[in-house]
C-alpha cells in the first residue's frame, strides 16, 4: 500500500479535489476540443442523438480558407507587435522608478494596479466615452484626430485595443518587475559604478540582463493575454469592427461556435490558436533565454 501511494498517502486525498478539477475543467475539455474539431458536430437538444461523422481535417481546412479567420490571426499579430514592446518598456521603466525610497510610493503603486483589478467591462465604458468620435480625446486633438475615429478606423482599431490592454494590465507587470529587481545583486551596480558606468549604461548592462527571467515571463503572459482576447474587441469595437479589422480568434470562436451553431469550426480555431501559442512560446524561449 505504502509503495503504491508514497510515504504520506494522505497527500493523495488532500490533493484529490484539485486533481479532479484539473481533469474535469482542463484535461477532458482539451481532449474534447480536439475531438469536436475532427467531427461534423452540431448542437442538439439534450437526449437527442445524431450522427457525428469523423471528417478528419475538413474543419481545419475550412477554417484556414476563411479570410475572416486569417484576418483574426493577423490582428493578434498586430496586437502583440504593439502590446509586447510597450508593456516590457513601460513596466520595466516604471518598476525601476518605483524601486527606491520615493515620496508617495504607495500612492503610485495603487494608481498603477487600479486598472488591473477593475473589470474590463467597466473601463471599456470610459474608453468608449474618451475615444468616441465626439469624445474628449478627439476634442482635444482637433484636426489631428484620425478620421474615422480610433475605434471605427481600419488602421487604428486594433492598435487602440492593444494600447487599452497595455494600460489595463501594466500594473501587474510592474509588480512582476518590482519583484525581479529585488533579485538583481546590488554588488553588480556597485562594480558597474566603479567601472565608471553611468546610470543608463548600468541600466543596460546590469538591470536588463538581471531581470531577463521576468522579461521572459512578461512576454509569455502577454502572449496568453493576446490569445485570450475577447471582451475588448467585442465591446470596444462593436464585435470586431470595422469589417473584422479588430476581430480576435476567440471572438470568431464565439460567433462561429455559439451564434452560428458550428462548434466544430470553433473548436478547430481554438486548437489552431493553442498550437500558435505553443509555437510562439517555444520560439520566444529560444530568443529570450540566455544561451546554454
Amino acid at each position: 500500500m505504502r509503495r503504491l501511494s508514497g510515504r504520506q498517502p494522505i497527500g493523495v486525498l488532500l490533493s484529490a479535489p484539485y486533481a479532479v478539477f484539473v481533469a474535469v475543467v482542463f484535461a477532458y475539455p482539451f481532449g474534447f476540443a480536439v475531438w469536436i474539431s475532427c467531427h461534423d458536430y452540431l448542437f442538439t437538444a439534450p437526449g437527442v442523438s445524431v450522427p457525428r461523422p469523423f471528417v478528419g481535417l475538413d474543419n481545419y481546412a475550412a477554417v484556414l480558407a476563411d479570410p475572416h479567420v486569417r484576418r483574426a490571426f493577423v490582428n493578434i499579430g498586430i496586437f502583440l507587435a504593439v502590446n509586447v514592446p510597450l508593456t516590457v518598456a513601460l513596466s520595466l521603466l516604471l518598476a525601476t522608478a518605483l524601486n527606491a525610497a520615493i515620496p508617495f510610493r504607495t500612492f503610485f503603486r495603487i494608481s498603477f494596479y487600479l486598472p488591473y483589478v477593475t473589470a474590463s467591462v467597466a473601463v471599456v465604458g470610459v474608453w468608449l466615452f474618451l475615444f468616441g468620435s465626439d469624445g474628449l480625446v478627439n476634442r482635444v486633438l482637433g484636426d489631428a484626430a484620425p478620421d474615422p475615429s480610433w475605434l471605427v478606423n481600419d488602421v487604428w482599431a486594433m492598435p487602440s485595443i492593444a494600447v487599452f490592454v497595455t494600460w489595463k494590465q501594466l500594473g501587474f507587470f510592474i509588480l512582476l518587475y518590482l519583484a525581479a529587481l529585488q533579485n538583481v545583486p546590488r554588488e553588480l551596480y556597485e562594480s558597474a559604478a566603479v567601472d565608471g558606468a553611468g546610470r543608463w549604461r548600468s541600466f543596460r548592462a546590469v538591470t536588463v540582463p538581471g531581470v531577463r527571467p521576468a522579461t521572459a515571463l512578461v512576454t509569455l503572459l502577454a502572449l496568453v493575454t493576446g490569445a485570450n482576447l475577447f471582451t475588448e474587441p467585442y465591446l470596444l469595437t462593436g464585435g470586431g469592427g470595422p469589417s473584422g479589422r479588430s476581430a480576435s480568434p476567440v471572438l470568431l470562436m464565439y460567433q462561429r461556435g455559439i451564434e452560428q451553431g458550428h462548434p466544430d469550426l470553433a473548436a478547430a480555431i481554438g486548437v489552431l490558436l493553442v498550437a500558435g501559442v505553443l509555437l510562439v512560446a517555444a520560439a520566444q524561449r529560444l530568443l529570450v533565454r540566455p544561451p546554454g
Binding site: L4, G6, Q8, P9, I10, G11, V12, L14, S15, P17, V22, V25, F26, F30, I36, F43, L93, A97, A100, I102, F108, S111, F112, L114, P115, A119, A122, V123, V124, G125, V126, L128, F129, G135, L136, R139, V140, W167, L170, G171, A179, N183, R199, P213, A214, L217, A227, N228, T231, Y234, L235, G238, V250, M253, Y254, A267, G270, L273, V274, V277
Partner: protein, 275 residues
C-alpha cells in the same frame, strides 16, 4: 540606488494616465447631460445628479446583478480557499505518488488559454449537465484558482521543516498539523489568495455571458455589457448610465484593493519569476 531627478516626474505622469479614466468615470456617471468637451472633465454643479444611477438600476436590476456577482465570486473564493489550501499543503509538504504529475499539471494549466476550452466547456456544462443559468455552472470552471494553489504551495514551502517533524513526533496526524500549525502561519497567504482570486470571477465576462441567458441570473459585468451593446442607444444619456454601472462594478474591487494593498505584494505573485 539613490533618488534621481526623473523618478517622481515619470511616476506622476504615469499616475495621471492611470487615474484619469477612473476620475472621468465618476464625473461622467454624475452628469445629467453628457459633456465630452474638455470643460466637461470638471464637475459642473448645475449638471450633476444621481439620475444615471436610477437609469442603470431600472435597466439591469442592479441589486439582483450584484447579488449574482457576489454569489459567483464567493463560490469561487470559497472553493479556492478550502481545496486550494489542501492541495497547496500536500504539494509542498507531503510525499505521495502523483505529486510530481499534479505539480506539472498546475504549471501547464496556467499557460493554456482558457478560451480554448470555452467551446467544449460550453457543450459539457450547458448541453451535458444542463447547468445553464445556474450558479453552479458559472462557478464550475473557476472553482479552484490554480494561481492561488501555487501561492499556497510557495507559502507552505517557506515554513521550517522542523516544525512539522516536531508535531509529527508528538503524534499529530496530518490534518491536525495542517490545521494547528501550518494554517495559522500562512494567514497572510490566505488574504493574498483571496485578493488574487476575487478579481477573476468579479470581473469575468465571457463565461457567464455564454451560459446565462436569463437576465435574473447575470452577474453585473454581463448585464452591464449587454446594456452597453444593445439597450444603450435607447437611453437618454447612455454613456452616463453605462458609467454609473461601471462605477458600481468597479467600486468593490477598487475599495478592497486600496484597503488591503499591502497584502497584494509582488513577492507572492512574482514567486514564479525567479528563473
Amino acid at each position: 540606488m539613490t533618488r534621481s531627478w526623473w523618478r517622481v516626474p515619470a511616476l506622476t505622469a504615469a499616475a495621471i494616465v492611470f487615474l484619469f479614466p477612473f476620475y472621468y468615470m465618476v464625473v461622467g456617471s454624475l452628469q445629467r447631460r453628457p459633456d465630452p468637451s474638455p470643460a466637461g472633465a470638471l464637475p459642473m454643479p448645475g449638471n450633476l445628479g444621481a439620475g444615471n444611477y436610477r437609469e442603470i438600476d431600472a435597466a439591469v436590476q442592479l441589486g439582483r446583478s450584484l447579488l449574482n456577482s457576489v454569489v459567483f465570486t464567493a463560490g469561487v473564493v470559497a472553493g479556492t480557499l478550502v481545496f486550494g489550501v489542501l492541495a497547496g499543503y500536500a504539494l509542498a509538504r507531503l510525499r505521495y505518488r502523483g505529486r510530481g504529475a499534479l505539480f506539472a499539471a498546475l504549471l501547464l494549466v496556467q499557460v493554456v488559454p482558457f478560451q480554448l476550452l470555452v467551446i467544449p466547456l460550453y457543450v459539457q456544462v450547458v448541453r451535458g449537465y444542463g447547468l445553464a443559468d445556474s450558479y453552479l455552472g458559472m462557478i464550475l470552471p473557476f472553482a479552484i484558482n490554480s494561481v492561488a494553489v501555487f501561492v499556497f504551495r510557495q507559502f507552505f514551502l517557506q515554513l521550517p521543516a522542523e516544525l512539522f517533524e516536531a508535531a509529527r513526533i508528538d503524534g499529530a496526524g496530518e490534518l491536525r498539523v495542517l490545521r494547528s500549525i501550518a494554517l495559522p502561519l500562512v494567514r497572510p497567504a490566505l488574504l493574498t489568495a483571496t485578493l488574487v482570486t476575487f478579481i477573476g470571477p468579479w470581473n469575468e465576462f465571457l463565461w457567464p455571458f455564454l451560459i446565462t441567458k436569463e437576465a435574473d441570473m447575470q452577474p453585473l459585468a454581463v448585464s452591464l455589457a449587454n446594456y452597453l451593446s444593445t439597450v444603450a442607444s435607447a437611453a437618454t444619456n447612455p454613456y452616463g448610465a453605462v458609467l454609473a454601472g461601471a462605477c458600481v462594478l468597479a467600486a468593490p474591487a477598487v475599495l478592497l484593493f486600496v484597503a488591503f494593498q499591502r497584502h497584494f505584494v509582488s513577492s507572492d505573485l512574482g514567486s514564479g519569476v525567479k528563473g
